[in-house]
C-alpha cells in the first residue's frame, strides 16, 4: 500500500489565488515529511520539511505546509499563486535513510 498519497494528479489555479497541493501519509509515530518541486527536464528542488515542532512550516518561494497529525496530512500551500509556480510537486516521507515519494501533482497556474 502506498505510504504517501497525493490524491490529485493536477491542480489548476488562477494567478493571485491561494493554492493547495494535498498530501497524506500513513506511517505511525512521528514522520519526517518533505516537499519538492520539479520543473520540466530538471532535477527536484527541495522546498521545505517537517521534522518536529511547529505544525506550520515555511519554505522557499513563499510556500508553506501544514502538518496535521490527526488527519495524517501535510498539505502544501501558498497564499498567492504565480504563473511561475507551474510545475510538478512531490511530497515525500523519509524512512530508514530513504525517501518514499508520492506520485506527484501537476500544478498549473493560469494568468
Amino acid at each position: 500500500a502506498q505510504s504517501v498519497a497525493q490524491p490529485e494528479d493536477q491542480v489548476n489555479v488562477a494567478e493571485g489565488n491561494p493554492l493547495t497541493v494535498k498530501c497524506t501519509y500513513s506511517v505511525s509515530g512521528n514522520p519526517y515529511l518533505f516537499w519538492y518541486v520539479q520543473y520540466p527536464n530538471r532535477g527536484l528542488q527541495f522546498l521545505l520539511k517537517y521534522i518536529t515542532g511547529d505544525n506550520l512550516v515555511k519554505g522557499s518561494y513563499g510556500f508553506e505546509a501544514e502538518f496535521n497529525k490527526s488527519q495524517t496530512s501535510f498539505h502544501l500551500k501558498k497564499p498567492s499563486a504565480l504563473v511561475s509556480d507551474s510545475a510538478l510537486y512531490f511530497c515525500a516521507e523519509a524512512r530508514g535513510g530513504k525517501l518514499i515519494f508520492g506520485q506527484g501533482t501537476e500544478l498549473s497556474v493560469k494568468p
Binding site: 519526517y32 518533505f34 519538492y36 527536464n41 530538471r42 532535477g43 527536484l44 528542488q45 527541495f46 520539511k49 521534522i51 510538478l88 512531490f90 523519509a94 524512512r95 530508514g96 535513510g97 530513504k98 525517501l99 515519494f101 506520485q103 506527484g104
Partner: protein
C-alpha cells in the same frame, strides 16, 4: 552547500548497447548517494542507495547496476540496454548518518536516456 553534477545530460542509445552514467558531488564528504529513475515524467523509482565507497543497496531487480569507486562518485551502468530502460535518471545526495532520515536529499540535473 553541495553541488551535484550528472553527465551526460542526454543520451540516445540502441537496444543492447552498454550504459554508463556518472554522478559526482562537490561540497560535502561521506554523502549518502541515490539513483532514481523517473518514467513518463511522473513517478520516482529508487534504484540504488549507497552509504559509502563500495557499499551499494539495490532496491529493485533490474537490468542496471551501480558502483561507488570514490566517496563522491556514483556510477550507474548496464551491460545491455533494454527499451524499458528509457527514462530520466536522477542522482541525489544526502548528508548525515545513513539511518538518520531528517536531512533532505539534494538532486542533480538529471540524464535523459532514450533507448531505441
Amino acid at each position: 552547500s553541495q553541488t551535484i553534477h550528472q553527465w551526460p545530460a542526454t543520451l540516445v542509445q540502441p537496444v543492447g548497447s552498454p550504459l554508463s552514467l556518472e554522478c559526482t558531488v562537490e561540497g560535502t564528504s561521506n554523502p549518502n548517494l541515490y539513483w532514481y529513475r523517473q518514467a513518463a515524467g511522473r513517478g520516482l523509482q529508487l534504484l540504488f542507495y549507497s552509504v559509502g565507497i563500495g557499499q551499494i543497496s539495490s532496491e529493485v531487480p533490474q537490468n542496471l547496476s551501480a558502483s561507488r569507486p570514490q566517496d563522491r562518485q556514483f556510477i550507474l551502468s548496464s551491460k545491455k540496454l533494454l527499451l524499458s530502460d528509457s527514462g530520466f535518471y536522477l542522482c541525489a545526495c544526502r548528508t548525515g548518518l545513513a539511518g538518520v532520515s531528517y536531512n533532505e536529499q539534494f538532486f542533480g540535473p538529471g540524464t535523459r536516456l532514450t533507448v531505441l
